[in-house]
């Protein structure tokens, strides 16, 4: 009879050899192991530890970091409801409650029979077609009562997810406005041919001339980054495409990878030629796992077309290939140095910078990390020239920007505009009415009120990674901010004190206000905490965790004032709420099971 470890060796060994027993592929190995076995078994860790020569503590530490990895059995069906504010607005909480009561399971727990677990997860990037969920890692959109009922039936009947109706998984592109990038008449290979014809240095010159800036939000000059990486000494250079599109409300990369993958991969290949890299990675967020097979097929096709691999387009010594690495539920990995840590199979903790990835990136080698949209734009520039691209947009912001529009509007989806478009124009195009506020660039971005709708999408006015969430007059902006604060608390990597503890304190304080226990004192505390997070956090997550609260306080103060029900300080500890467990255990909820509450 096989020993317990042998049972795991059977499926682990092929995974290990696929990854050449490479310890820096640990995260990929763990994801594959879990896909096979359902969770990461303790005996499996023994085998991995021996084969990869890694301490068990490191493997457990990595597994413990990523939301989607489990060291304990987690149900045959793992149901995760996307919990962005847009999912909330379209009723995800009621749907989760309905599923839970139909299948006799509590949120956050595994059902007693081990059939399923139900929980929430951070924005899954389907805000234009929510509410959404992941079932065993695969995305389902447009949840409704009917769809939830059908899902309950399928789970009860133990139908494998692969046999569920295909329409559940039909993710739409929803492209509403096309400009140069989304017009999509790009011919695979055309930009590479242009590069080979024009020359490598000349192509870098065109990228510089285009004044292209990073589309992930920070807006660093792409030409400068590529040049710095090219000039940095190293044994190897690497090109990384950041497709860890975790910012709540952003979903443009989902569409670019679904329908424009060639343009993206070609941009990476141009960058490889310019920087001298022969290996590249696409870091694909775990929520977009359903795109993996499609992307692998595109890569394979490009290899067949001699657009990847050795001697690209017959050009001797032009060698480059791309591997796809999956994320596993960690927003922080969208930060480029955390992403590199994750690519190296580690916990996704942002590094101390400097040094920056352009000189010390993947395996400490010079590395370009760019957003999906940046690489796609680079392909167009190589093809049509820098001057052409620089002729679009504004002085500070050349070219186009794709916006992911969601929330209270008639036509959510993708809108590509030349930079400089006003917020009002976008609102009018997407059919938004009675708009109270727009959250631009996601939870870490800015909240714009109606008197600012004439502001423009541009690096010198409102810079954005692409999210554009619309809130009409019915919405409570305090609840919007509270949702984002909980998001940051959930996604804090835990490395530095202010963000690890501060985001959770902030979430608790917002909850206290929501429960009617807030006083002006708590309000002042929230402001102080925000200032501390901004000044002392290790990375951008901590710095921007305050933005939604600070913005909504500044612009929607009445939403907070309504919450400050108490004139004087009231402790967050609520004795009656503390008795809720006792009530649950005894099945009582009558008046006698509650404390008298004089203020209600």
């Amino acid at each position: 009879m096989a020993s317990p470890v042998d049972t795991h060796a059977e499926y682990l060994d092929p995974i290990l050899s696929r990854h050449r027993h490479n310890a820096s592929d640990l995260l990929q190995i763990l994801i594959a192991a879990q896909e096979h076995y359902g969770y990461i078994h303790s005996d499996a860790i023994d085998h991995l530890s021996a084969q990869l020569e890694l301490p068990r503590s490191k493997i457990e530490g990595v597994s413990g970091f990523y939301s989607f990895l489990h060291l304990q059995p987690d149900g045959e069906y793992r149901v995760l409801f996307s919990d962005n504010i847009t999912d909330r607005m379209s009723g995800n909480m009621d749907l989760m409650q309905s599923l839970c009561s139909q299948l006799w399971v509590e949120p956050g727990k595994v059902s007693e029979d081990g059939l399923l677990s139900v929980n929430t997860t951070s924005c899954t990037g389907l805000c234009d077609q929510g509410p959404a969920m992941l079932v065993n890692g695969i995305a389902i959109n447009r949840l409704s009562r009917e769809r939830i009922n059908a899902i309950c039936e399928l789970i009860r009947e133990r139908v494998p997810v692969s046999a569920w109706p295909a329409m559940f998984f039909a993710i739409e592109d929803n492209i509403r406005r096309r400009d140069v990038l989304l017009e999509g008449n790009f011919q695979p290979g055309s930009a590479l041919a242009a590069l080979l014809q024009r020359g490598t240095d000349e192509t870098l010159h065109e990228i510089r001339l285009s004044a292209l800036r990073g589309r992930g939000g920070a807006g660093f000059s792409t030409g400068l980054k590529w040049g710095l990486c090219r000039d940095a000494p190293g044994e190897q250079h690497y090109v990384v495409c950041n497709a860890d599109e975790g910012e709540p409300g952003t979903f443009k990369d989902r569409v670019l990878l679904n329908s424009y993958a060639d343009t993206v991969f070609e941009g990476m290949t141009l960058c490889a030629r310019i920087t001298g890299a022969d290996r590249g990675f696409l870091y694909l967020r775990g929520e977009y796992r359903y795109l993996l097979e499609h992307l692998q097929a595109v890569l394979q096709h490009r290899r067949q077309q001699k657009l990847l691999g050795n001697d690209i387009l017959g050009h001797a010594g032009f060698n480059f290939d791309i591997e796809i690495h999956l994320g596993a539920g960690a927003y922080i990995c969208g930060e480029e140095s955390a992403l590199i840590e994750s690519l190296e199979g580690k916990r996704g903790t942002p590094r101390n910078r400097p040094p920056f990835p352009v000189t010390h990136g993947y395996l400490n080698q010079p590395t370009v990390v760019n957003n999906v949209e940046t690489f796609a734009a680079a392909s167009l520039i190589a093809l049509h020239g820098g001057a052409w691209y620089a002729g679009i947009g504004t002085d500070s912001s050349r070219g186009t920007k794709i916006l992911s529009v969601s929330g209270d509007c008639e036509r959510p989806g993708l809108y590509e505009y030349p930079f400089g478009v006003t917020v009002a124009q976008v609102l009018s195009d997407c059919g938004a009415k009675n708009t109270q506020a727009v959250q631009i660039s996601g939870a870490s971005g800015v909240c714009i009120a109606a008197d600012e709708f004439d502001r423009r999408i541009a690096f010198d006015d409102i810079p954005t990674a692409g999210a554009f969430m619309v809130f009409d007059q019915r919405r409570d902006m305090f609840e919007v901010a509270r949702n984002f604060v909980h998001f940051f608390a959930h996604e804090s990597c835990g490395f530095c004190t202010p963000c690890r503890v501060g985001t959770s304190l902030l979430a608790n304080m917002m909850d206290k206000l929501a429960e009617g226990h807030g006083s002006p004192y708590d309000f002042a505390e929230i402001e102080k905490l925000n200032a501390l997070l901004q000044s002392t956090s290790h990375c951008g997550l901590g710095h921007s965790a305050c933005n939604p609260v600070l913005d909504t306080i500044a612009k929607f103060r009445p939403a907070y004032d309504r919450r400050l029900a108490q004139k004087d300080f009231v402790p967050a500890f609520d004795l009656d709420r503390a008795l809720s467990q006792a009530r649950q255990m005894t099945g009582r909820d009558d008046t006698g099971a509650h404390l008298e509450r004089s203020h209600e």
């Binding site: 301490p55 804090s492 835990g494 530095c496 004190t497 690890r500 501390l532």
Partner: protein, 270 residues
């Protein structure tokens, strides 16, 4: 050597010389100037996670343990603004774990407690998290009390980089981050841990404790009972087991403890 050849920066107005590659705190320490810190230990590569050593360098907040010194830099450390921030960060560390100083064997030798005194922290201020963190008393000679862990990762670094054992690691994320040990059972007894390890010596708080020596040195006669942490050479001798550190001349003379130390912050139930 001619002193003028050293580049310098100013720290609260005082000129601090440094050598290439030194970080702000390293240069300050070499010059005998104290910058409050917890996850930094001069024997290890700086980490930059606790943020207690935050200073303002040329007007910008940064961790002095990881920020490389540059010629002509103007650094502020001992200011009301920065000390207020440090106090708030210390309060966060206190409410995140379960710290009951009066009953803790490390009291008086604890860097968290001593730094809290230094920063005049008089209460935990924030609401406690009261996490559930069971003890690990499995090892014959050592005890792990995770309640006091501040996630500085010094034991992780010591075990990995000095002992070559990887006994400790961090797991979880965010507020659920926690220390784990390298054993299938999850118990220290089943790891390669030994009292001779560097990792046994580096905990700045009271997580890694030697058994059967508890309170051998009475409270009141411990390192920080004698003088504040700002006047104590680093690293702190773990009770009587380590000799005093040879470097780092004491910049401030010993103070009379009764006259200068505020009352112990009884962190719970105040």
């Amino acid at each position: 050597m001619n002193k003028e050849t050293f580049p310098t920066f100013t720290l609260d107005g005082k000129t601090i010389p440094f050598t290439a590659g030194q970080t702000l705190i390293q240069a300050a320490m070499a010059a005998g100037v104290y910058i409050p810190h917890l996850c930094f230990n001069p024997e290890f590569k700086p980490h930059g996670s606790c943020k207690i050593c935050t200073v303002k360098a040329d007007g910008r907040h940064t961790s002095s343990c990881t920020h490389q010194a540059q010629d002509g830099m103007v650094v502020e450390s001992n200011t009301q603004e920065i000390n207020d921030e440090r106090r708030a960060l210390l309060q966060m560390l206190f409410v995140e774990g379960n710290h009951f100083c009066p009953s803790c064997e490390k009291s008086g030798n604890c860097q968290l407690q001593a730094t809290a005194y230094e920063m005049n922290m008089m209460s935990p201020h924030f609401d406690h998290f009261f996490p559930d963190r069971p003890l690990d008393a499995s090892h014959p000679d050592y005890l792990l009390d995770f309640n006091r862990c501040i996630l500085c990762s010094l034991c992780v670094r010591a075990s990995r980089d000095v002992d070559g054992k990887n006994v400790f690691a961090l797991s979880g994320r965010g507020i659920s981050s926690h220390l784990i040990v390298n054993a299938k059972s999850g118990l220290l007894a089943d790891t390669g841990f030994s009292g001779d390890d560097k990792a046994a010596q580096v905990c700045p708080v009271g997580v890694i404790l030697k058994k059967r020596v508890g309170f051998a040195v009475p409270i009141g006669s411990r390192s920080f009972d004698e003088q504040p942490i700002s006047a104590t050479p680093h690293p702190v001798p773990a009770a009587a087991t380590l000799p005093p550190h040879p470097q780092g001349a004491c910049p401030v003379g010993p103070r009379s403890k009764a006259a200068t130390l505020p009352p112990h912050p009884t962190v719970k139930g105040t």
